[in-house]
Symmetry: D2
Subunit: 344 residues, 4 copies
């Protein structure tokens, strides 16, 4: 997770941890059923619509201090659109843009989107679209949504699940290792955990983060050989009890629960996976643990240690491995495979 950044090396011969990305900023989900997806995120999960434009709605959790962390866009098939990362400074943004461009993964500069300024857009090696930006619009709640807590951006309304904030996302990738190296080397993400089968030869998943949150990005093997697909997007609640309550609410609203509430062994995440009406897998999430060590030793799980992927027994359903969006098995055309740079 150390990177040779020429600008830095002139001062310090030993590479230091890169610290140019601050956090996951915004995730765009594509949905063929925008009205029902909006109902799911707004009425069932309790998010707030901060803005609407064209085919998109911009949502937020009551604890997100950015104006929006989830963009919902009508599309022919489900899946993930642009994944935006916030830089730690304007200079960090420039540095990352140059490094990614040099790696031939760049798309180019954009004028930003609702809630954020100009950004540099690129592909990860698997073809997911990403963007780095620095300028961000803070949320200013209208009077009726103002919290009685001055340090809380928005009233906790007590509607539905009441997710606090966006936490992370997991992407499917045909070559997990290549994408993991990209995220470590070019984004500076620290590797937190890995699942490695066949005596380390098959990398099934890697969990990474630019900050103390256990993982803000996971790459998981796309067993169908697709490109640019989503495994899940994850929203945070503060207590495990909130996840149990979420399960009650999902069940009452006829939402399909794929797995959980239960506890993963890797990440220690307390999870609840459902499919939003558009088809994307969404996780309600709590627990896990923070990592603050600059020299964190990644925890690697082999076949035996990983077991079922759950801590208390039971198993994740086969769909958890097989299903992603867009759902290739359903006959949809996958996103165009990206032109992978030779670097990876």
């Amino acid at each position: 997770m150390y990177v040779s950044d020429p600008a830095v090396v002139c001062l310090s011969m030993a590479p230091e941890p890169l610290h140019d990305i601050a956090h996951l900023g915004s995730v765009e989900l594509l949905t063929p059923r925008p009205d029902r997806s909006l109902w799911y995120f707004r009425d069932v999960l309790g998010m707030t619509v901060a803005h609407e434009a064209g085919d998109s709605a911009y949502l937020r959790g009551y604890g997100d201090y950015a104006v929006s962390t989830l963009k919902l866009t009508a599309a022919r098939t489900a899946g993930v659109g642009c994944i935006a990362w916030r830089a730690t400074s304007p200079e960090a943004l420039e540095r990352r843009a140059r490094a990614i461009e040099a790696a031939e993964l760049g798309i180019g500069w954009t004028n930003g989107d609702f809630g954020r300024g100009r950004g540099y857009r690129f592909h990860d090696p698997d073809g997911h679209t990403m963007e780095i930006y620095y300028e961000e619009q803070k949320y200013r709640a209208p009077a009726e949504l103002r919290s009685s807590l001055k340090n809380q951006p928005q009233k906790y309304a007590g509607r539905g699940v009441g997710v606090r904030r966006s936490d992370h996302l997991a992407l499917l990738a045909s070559d997990v290792a290549a994408n993991r190296r990209f995220a470590a080397g070019l984004l500076g993400f620290q590797l937190r955990e890995q699942v490695m089968f066949d005596q380390g030869k098959t990398e099934l998943g890697s969990w990474m983060s630019p900050n103390a949150v256990h993982h803000q990005l996971a790459y998981v093997r796309d067993v169908k050989g697709g490109h640019g697909r989503l495994h899940h997007f994850s929203l945070w609640v503060d207590n495990r009890e909130d996840v149990l309550r979420a399960a009650d609410i999902l069940a009452e609203n006829g939402i399909f629960i794929e797995a959980g509430p239960a506890k993963h062994n890797n990440s220690q995440g307390f999870y609840l996976y459902s499919y939003e009406p558009g088809g994307n897998r969404v996780e309600i999430y709590s627990g896990s643990y923070l990592v603050m060590a600059p020299d964190w030793e990644p925890v690697t799980w082999d076949e035996r240690e990983r077991g079922s992927g759950t801590y208390w027994g039971g198993a994740l359903p086969e769909s958890f491995i097989q299903y992603g969006t867009p759902d290739i098995a359903a006959g949809d055309t996958p996103l165009d495979p990206p032109k992978l740079p030779v670097f990876f």
Copy 2:
């Protein structure tokens, strides 16, 4: 919270956030009743003794990956000893040492302590003793304390409260502003929240952090004009329910509960304050919120907004303002006031 670090400036004319301190490493508590204090932390809070040497015991929570995060040392009076911060790299350690030395707050290099390598020792402006180090010993659990979770450093034993890890500490300071400027300027901590009375003229407290944890260091006004004193040391549990359960356990063990369980307005922390038998205030803590924004706008509370300091009503007891360790009112001699550098 931006600092002119000459080494950096040659490359980037605009200052970038300093990122040289990774996290709070270890806190030393002094106790005139070492046996009872050990009983409190080990048997009531459920911590583990990792090492004993001389008049000190080195403790840890089951989720701490460093070998020890709390050092308990027999002393004539209660209070806080050395507060150790971990650097993000060996270079960062050197940079901080040079900068602190230049500010005339330095004491000098030490050969480290159990669990950590050489460090640079110094005073904060109020006279608390601090140290920065980089080399850290990870915990390797003996067989009987090994967790069934590969990513958990130690078995969750289910003994007493079962605190997960060290979270933060709050120090009393006669001049909060001077110490806040020190922590921002020389340690690179981001200011998260402040309590400012008298139209901003009286700074009652400042909450700061080097990472996404809401605060790892708070300076709170020493109303008695002392120096080098402790307000509280805080240990984390994952859920609010764990804090309630902790209150039951403290009550069953005859531990004095000063306040809580309840929710602060500033920090949103869900708190439970008790006095360990040596006299130091210890907090069992959950909730609060993470901050990942590089440009976080500090939240400032005035008299009216701060109110009682609790969110749901009720009041913190007067002792919460008046009492710290060592307890000056009890006639103990305070730590020698430090020679404050002219810089602050």
Copy 3:
């Protein structure tokens, strides 16, 4: 599960525990601000309006299987109206009516109210109006409120606090002992706990129940010498975490929180007291413990043992002792004092 055992009835002349009252059925709250009170119970606490008639709204928790457990009636002052108890059988209803009539506390038979059949109405010695009934209308949820759980009367909507069901009520009484003897002797309630000051001479409160719930009726001393007043009405949630979440919701909605969330020592109840906009004290409640013993030994607390009435420290505010509805101090005329029968 009904057994005809006529041979038994003449074999035992020794008194056995009376089992004629099954549970608290319905409580009527009076409010001078009916619209705001309705908003509080429906939108903030998440109850459902099952029926409206005249100046009254009939509400229910999602887990109440009776059609309504709370009647909200517009009135000049806050307070409690009719308190209805369900009998265990039609015969039990007749028996209780005769016994109460014989004790000269009876008012007479009524034709019932929404959701229940004919009942026998009476005063307790302090003058509160009560009623015993047997016939009860079960709730049949309309399609949009039907739960995905067949054994749950109504969908858990996840709106506001989401109280599950009515639990108990506490009445102020100028002579606690007389009312306690009445509830034990004529209603067959088991005494669970008592607060007795002055070496047993002053009975400050008695907690009683006709079933395994710790208490469904409490008599607490009316320190102002009033009659027929209410201390609080209590609604149940399943977990302590639900009470904490309720506090967040009350705070966000500008509801005055008088005390809690915290834990009583007597009853072990985990409480949160607020005033609904009409002025009545309402408790959100969990925890406590069930009593199934037929020979339960009442737990009696003296001044020292009772302490502040809270388990973890802190104190209940003076208003908790002084305030009831109607609020005599506010100059309202109290309910007419009842003609107390000589029996008590």
Copy 4:
């Protein structure tokens, strides 16, 4: 609270609900690994040994007010021994004894066991051994186990899971209907829920109770045609979070978790099933709901409604249907089939 009302007994010839059994008193579990079973209940679940005699240990939860609710007895195979029910009065005990004797299910009077007085012993139709008693020894904690709560029989020690009290047990029966009729007719238990397949022709399970607890006795079909076998014994904790914490503790102690934590649809119970080292299935349990209605309408689930038996999805493992103790499949000899009375 006792009332002498002899005039009443001859007035009503219509059958009223029987109220002769107060609650489940004590369950005896048989174990071929008594030392390990004792470790499980004492060190992992946190129960206390109140007494030891011969091959038996008598245990209790911190909230049980009877001196013991679980008897652990060394035996050749796992299974359930004597199941003791407490009567509501001495007269109720006599009435039940006569009625059971008349039904030809009686074994005879015993001199009691540790913690309880003389009792009438009998078989249920499936051959489980049961007993009814009235005299019960209350727990008086020794000084070191005394609680700081006067109404709590024993200190909450914070050791392991910390189960509060015994809640219920589920028995396997070859003919569920016969045993259900027995429990309703002779013990007076109210039927709460049923699973009925084949359009009501196959009764898979019936959940019943003598008090407000949802069920204290369940009969579940013994798919292997055995007799006198146990499905599970269940221990209560107050919050769902306590069940999650229990799962962490079981996992850390290498205890096999068969299912959960999750939520049943029938009973709404929040369950966690593990096998204690002797082989018996033990449930850590919270949630569910109380029933206080004298005319409760049993909730009946057919194949489609019952589904997997869980509320949030997922499935109970096949072992949950197949496995009971003693484990017939393992080649052990089942308990002698009882001589079933012609009445059933």
